[in-house]
Symmetry: D3
Subunit: 238 residues, 6 copies
């Protein structure tokens, strides 16, 4: 029995509010249950130095957590003077995931930065970030298309992510904080709407796992991402 | 004529949603028009080193702005590795303002940290932060009182803040971003519900000002803060 | 009775030694009683990136305190690897104050940096810094005029600053360290020789204050700044 | 055809020289072809703050690359003043992998730090690091057992890691730098000698992949790790 | 012919003003010609962690240069966020030199920090710092002796330093900035009043040197330090 | 009697393995007994900003020590976020020493960086670094000559370094760690194959020394460097 009473293959409520902030070219507030992340997409008409003059664009991500997004207050990374290894690992994953569905040549020499800021945390902040980032990116690109700054759509597919893990011996979908803290193995799966996998990260905690367990987790991830894909389309007005 | 069409002594809409986040002991989302700040109050049963063993508490504040809270994206302070001088100046002001209405001996050996994170900016983020911080502090202290961890209320008054400035020759209340960028003088006023002033910071930009202008701005600040005091009480359920 | 025996509206001895150091284009050692600050003005024929090509100049300031300027040794900011919030707040105030009396278009595409280093501290280091910075700036600009690198004087007025506060119930002028540590309210006032105010910063410490008290402090500040204006002119040879 | 002429399921030459340095309690130089990593295990009779007094130990890892381990010189992280996100991600993975095979209660209140320094890089530095770290840890623990400081062996299994990827449409084992730079998908697999998986990290680059491809990569990883397990035992004198 | 017109074995004017600042336990302003350094000695009744409980004291030094001590403004190390390699090298040398004349057991469990801040630079700032630091240390120790906090004098000798170099083929004493910039070899010599040498640092610049040249420089250094020893005694009232 | 049983004027075994790493333009592993340093020379076709467009090159050095190169593990400088004063002092010395034998005009507008990384430490890491750096530089320059990118040899002489000190009253050559920890005076001498001295750094530890002792140490240094010069030539294939 899961602490939340959910079935093993049941997602938490997914809510995606598009245009959640005023200034960004694209944005949304995404909730997976009590986990809430504000994602903004910012378009800049320049690319990082290593891409200058190559006729292609870039998509990157930054991630942060408000100090009291969590049960006990964490220290503010800006005050500590550096981003933790965990933060950097997560923002690298988000950026990679979104780049997997963006044709950089079609995007042209511009950069889109996806800022994912966790307002409230209850497990799955990185997967909610990736899932919300697609909506923010979609809205920002739609703006470029509407304004005629882009003529062809550089987005090649949807991307979504969800965590799955083995909780008290059972593979379960979309771990919340209590489950995450006690799972024997947990994984983050980044899937595309065309059926392919962009990233698998599955870590044993205490126990280890085998191929069968990995496939079980992946099967759950496909269930969860289907639901997220639908919510993304609705939020993006498609 | 103000760009927003407001009268010179007219505040923007003040909205304070209490308990805006789940984990913090006290919190609110405060809006002054399009400026939105999430404030959380976190209680920790320890004090900074300089106060240890002195039988008194501490109230402090931290301030941050999400990278895309503004018209164009600003760089993330955590990624740059340091807080700007502006950020530090603001969080020092917030902390000082809240300490002005808190009896540290009655609070006991605990620290309350007020995190003010700007979700969307349109001028006046520091004054909205101070005004919201009082609500978050009030709710956190109410929790301590309700749980019997405090027997006497350490909060001695309400504190609120508003900016005023001289815009196109006219003293106006609660500057929004357009006004703030073009004001010839602007000030931030931190006032107490008992009629006293906690802090005055009035800076000439381009033009300078005199005692009469300063009194004009203060008179407007009193009008604005009256309205904020009422909204605070309502949000705090008092 | 003030600890120093001064009358409430009495400044400490103001001494300004011009050309206190050999290499700087302008400099002075300024003393307000036992507070001593060395100020240098350095001219560079370049402006910060945000001003390039705009045909105007910039005036900025940096502030530091020698580790043993104070009663007990403070740690060296260079060794700690960052400037404190207090340092940044002060140097931003100094820069803003001096920019209030300088016509940036007349200055042309060059930057003048005012370095204010506290050799000995006894309260009022930021106000002495501002007051001395005007002399250093004046001397540096006079050099530019004498060399024909400037044809019109970009300095539009004198600027001086002084602290005032309420000490044991009485408004007093130019707080020294003992008074500053015990004042119930204290303010820093930056005034121009044309009668206008450039900046007011008045903070309640413990007690709070009202409009009347603020005006009392401002009245004292005008008395103090008159005396500083005279000393500045004499030091600058005018 | 692989650039190196290897068969798809062929590892590069694995060489593990135990006791490669004089001072460390355990160490080895491990080579996967031209990739060479020096790993040392350092025992300290103290644990990190979060574990103090809990009667258990800790295993952690740090990773670095000499500036000219690579084709072109990279800047020295110590000189830049921070470790890159990549470095932090890798050292977190190494630590997690080794903790998966160590019983912290049996280890007792001591910490073993595994320093993995890349002397020469040609792809697979993180997997060589993990594989070599097990040998260094094994030797250090053997020393504790020999000296009677430990009576029961805290190491519960062997751990090894290898990268696999899809190169020109074919799943291949143990990518070298040229393959790694051109692979359409690549993964790092951390396996235990008891048949379980400790960690799977598989990333699409350009192309994405499906369950079948993931299983193919895992099958290759099992082949590679079998060979590494044998080399580890030999190096550790078992 | 030296640019200053001095004879090869002629020092610049040495001026040491004792008690140059109010708060420090010992201090002086030392000038070697146009090079001026303010040195303060601060006594703290604690020692660094590595000495705790060992019954002995510590003498350490920090060095800084005001941004405009030099011909062109240098950036402020506190603003840059780190001390340069040059600064660290110099402050390590100063500390080592003063420790050479202090019996740490007689000093007892306290630390004396010598802050050497260059007010104006014209070559020889590190040697002036060492020479002035002895005076500040002497005055601080005299205070401890006078107050009965020390009963035996821990200072075992005088220490002084001077630079010498080969300028246009001739060995010269006490290089000023112009000579220093053009010397073919230059050295810093730290000598004791008992005739011994504490430190020799002689570097070839462009040309290299031999034993004879090194002895020539050392001979000049003895001449210079004799003069400094006399000035130190006079400044310290001995 | 020296702990190692060596005669006072006896070096430890010098072993220099050229081409110790694959990617660098020049490299060697140098051992002075148990001290082992990996040195690489990296050629870059650009110079630091202060040399741009001046038609000359630059030689610089960086130094690091692996965390467990020493008896007890030291913290990793990249993790601490800064290089220690000792590290900076050493790398400045290495760079200066190599520049003493390189004609920057003949080198042309390119930079050669010498990375010296201590794999195992037993005293004398900086002198082994300098001695090995010459070999790495020689091999890198030979490559430039062989490829026709240089037509004249910019290397004007050999440079080598060795430490000498007074151990139990006797001047001894090439201090190992035990001797270094107990020496009453120790020096590092950087000598050229043409008989000249590039750098002398001799520090008293506890005891001080005089001219005669300095000459004794220098005489030993000449003996040691002769042996190193021969080993360098052999390693460089000359």
């Amino acid at each position: 029995m899961r602490p939340s009473g959910r079935a093993p293959d049941q997602m938490r409520a997914i809510i995606i509010e598009p245009n959640a902030t005023r200034h960004a070219e694209g944005s949304c507030m995404i909730s997976f249950g009590d986990t809430r992340v504000l994602v903004t997409a910012s378009i800049e008409e320049r690319v990082p130095p290593f891409l200058r003059g190559k006729g292609q664009g870039w998509v990157t991500a930054e991630y942060g957590m408000l100090p009291r997004a969590t049960h006990t207050r964490g220290s503010r990374e800006a005050a500590k003077g550096k981003q933790s290894g965990r933060t950097q690992e997560i923002q690298r994953l988000i950026g990679r995931s979104l780049r997997a569905v963006c044709d950089m040549t079609l995007l042209g020499e511009r950069q889109i930065t996806l800022d994912c800021d966790v307002i409230q945390a209850d497990g799955g902040t990185r997967t909610a970030s990736i899932s919300g980032a697609w909506v923010a990116l979609r809205l920002a690109v739609d703006k470029l298309l509407a304004e005629g700054r882009l003529t062809a759509d550089p987005i090649t597919a949807q991307v979504a992510a969800v965590s799955c893990g083995i909780y008290e011996g059972t593979p379960v979908l979309d771990l919340d904080y209590i489950e995450d803290s006690n799972a024997h193995a947990d994984g983050n799966f980044v899937l595309l709407s065309n059926g392919n996998i962009a990233e698998t990260q599955a870590t044993a905690e205490g126990a280890t796992y085998d191929e069968a367990a990995l496939l079980d987790l992946l099967r759950l991830a496909r269930i969860g991402c289907s639901e997220i894909f639908a919510a993304q389309l609705k939020a993006a007005g498609r």
